[in-house]
Symmetry: C2
């Protein structure tokens, strides 16, 4: 006896649903609810149904997959962004495919191609730090696949992007450290090709200027903002006799503070310190770390909602261009000399 291939009609009969529902459910079309999609797919799996998904995609020229390309997945912030995106797109019937550029534009180009080959319905991107030319994204846009940038966005372009005001945030942190009595503030930051770090540095400089503190090139430490970089920076800070530190992420700030304490420095008495992101570590360490609340979950949700609304032709993200999120300063023990 030869087993005849299972058809969508067999699945429809089994689940007591219309064959058209089965067809749309298998394609994970958003008109079928997620629980029903899952029932259909589970039954299809169980019955050994094999759709020629490639042929379907070729015919329909669409899928229900959203792609995301990020520099690296190794941060609390990025995992929060992705959680926010999943929350929105899953309930709309889309699935998320994630890839990392590992801060390399060459890999980013390959990732774009992979996402394109997989016919994503739209793409969310935070740029690699050495991406200056963004032709690979423009090509994707030309082919009708919408691209929305977030966090690390192309400098000097009017492509749709979701960011925070990094300059204003950098200014607020630095101003706060000065108001707490710091007179020599070291700024630890990342690659200056990235808009994020460049603008935070601008904000730092503006605050110094406002309070007539001379800017010193030697007080700006550019590294990869890793745990190790924070430890190394602590030694430089001691040599420079700085009394304030503003670090562009919390992880590096935490390891730097740990090392400073290890060398007998008291925080905030001898040195005031602030980080950036409001990662969990900022709340747990002792003293707790002053930081900027960068709401990853919210950023992910807003990015996903805008991209989906564009795909469903409810808005045109190319018209709204820039969306800017608020980022409050969270003042904690590491910088609070005068409560």
């Amino acid at each position: 006896m030869i087993n005849k291939p299972v058809t969508i009609y067999d699945i429809a009969a089994k689940l007591d649903l219309a064959p058209s529902t089965i067809s749309r459910g298998l394609k994970r079309h958003s008109s079928v609810s997620l629980p029903t999609q899952q029932r259909i797919i589970q039954m299809a799996e169980k019955m050994g149904y094999r759709a020629n998904a490639f042929a379907i995609n070729l015919r329909n020229n669409k899928t229900s997959t959203i792609g995301i390309i990020v520099p690296k997945l190794n941060s609390y912030f990025m995992s929060q962004v992705i959680a926010g995106i999943e929350k929105v797109i899953n309930s709309a019937g889309y699935n998320l495919l994630i890839s990392q550029s590992l801060e390399d534009v060459g890999k980013e180009i390959i990732n774009v191609q992979t996402m394109f080959d997989n016919r994503v319905a739209g793409l969310l991107v935070s740029l690699a730090e050495n991406t200056s030319d963004i032709a690979h994204f423009l090509n994707l846009q030309k082919r009708g696949i919408p691209v929305l940038f977030f966090d690390r966005t192309p400098a000097g372009s009017d492509l749709p992007a979701l960011t925070i005001n990094n300059e204003a945030a950098g200014y607020k942190v630095t101003r706060h450290l000065i108001e707490q009595g710091a007179t020599k503030i070291v700024h630890i930051t990342g690659n200056q090709l990235s808009n994020v770090y460049k603008e935070r540095l601008s904000g730092y400089k503006r605050a110094l200027l406002e309070f007539k503190i001379p800017f010193e090139e030697s007080c700006v430490l550019i590294n990869d903002l890793s745990e190790e970089a924070g430890i190394k920076a602590a030694n430089t800070i001691i040599k420079l006799k700085a009394d304030g530190v503003f670090v562009a992420n919390d992880h590096c700030a935490a390891s730097c503070m740990h090392e400073l304490k290890h060398h007998g420095k008291k925080v905030p008495e001898d040195i005031v310190i602030a980080g950036f992101n409001n990662d969990m570590i900022s709340r747990i360490i002792d003293p707790s770390l002053t930081t900027v609340d960068y709401p990853g979950l919210k950023m992910g949700e807003i990015a996903a909602k805008n991209l989906l609304a564009h795909i469903e032709e409810k808005i045109d993200i190319n018209l709204t261009a820039n969306i800017i999120l608020k980022t409050p300063l969270l003042i904690r023990q590491s910088s609070l000399r005068n409560p």
Copy 2:
């Protein structure tokens, strides 16, 4: 004038390479070096070349993409695993597509289908906590796509898997806490459907038994091992008058210790504490946290190497079945009463 479509011959002429190299490069075949792949893809992008990737995949029945499905991306451990995988597969000319099951078997099934639709060459999987039936992976295997499980692996199956000895690790931690004088040890852990948490609990029980400490059901707190869960658990620990805590991850251990200190408990004098994973946070908090070194980067590298070797028909992972990594106990201040 009508623009003729760009062909691989045009790209070959421009780069002075053989058309077959262009063809393989565009498909990211591992016989073409990664830098050359990138040159080819960049030039193809620049010239506006559009391969019918779906047709190519349909014809060749292969891609150079590896898929990975993880429960959640929100841990240092998982980001390390993924970094290890990328390192190995990128240098072999493969690209990585990542998706999250968000601890839900229904989404995991959809992810498997998405990965299959995208013709991944192989799949790496750490299971959702409520996955009991693994038929969706068996179907994939039957269709010739190798699946290698890591960390969270199917219980009671002989499918290829890469794990640590969770039972032995749980035993080692508990034994150490007892040797440091703890007589009533709370164990905070995750969903017991997961092999990982179930086995750590078994190890905890074995150590208690060996030292003739009665096992109390009330001393086992099962939650989602989040920051919030750690805070909540601290209050229970105080009520139970426990003098030892073994937490199945570092993040939850860190927030629990923070909360215990907040309530005036001294660590390690009043309570000895140990975590699991050797996350960065375990080294930064005060006192530093005793933990189990779970080498994510190494696990990722080994998983990727084995999967690739299987794809390239150098080994058969179905024969080796289980690979077990070593996990040393890292004794730090949070548990060290008798240095």
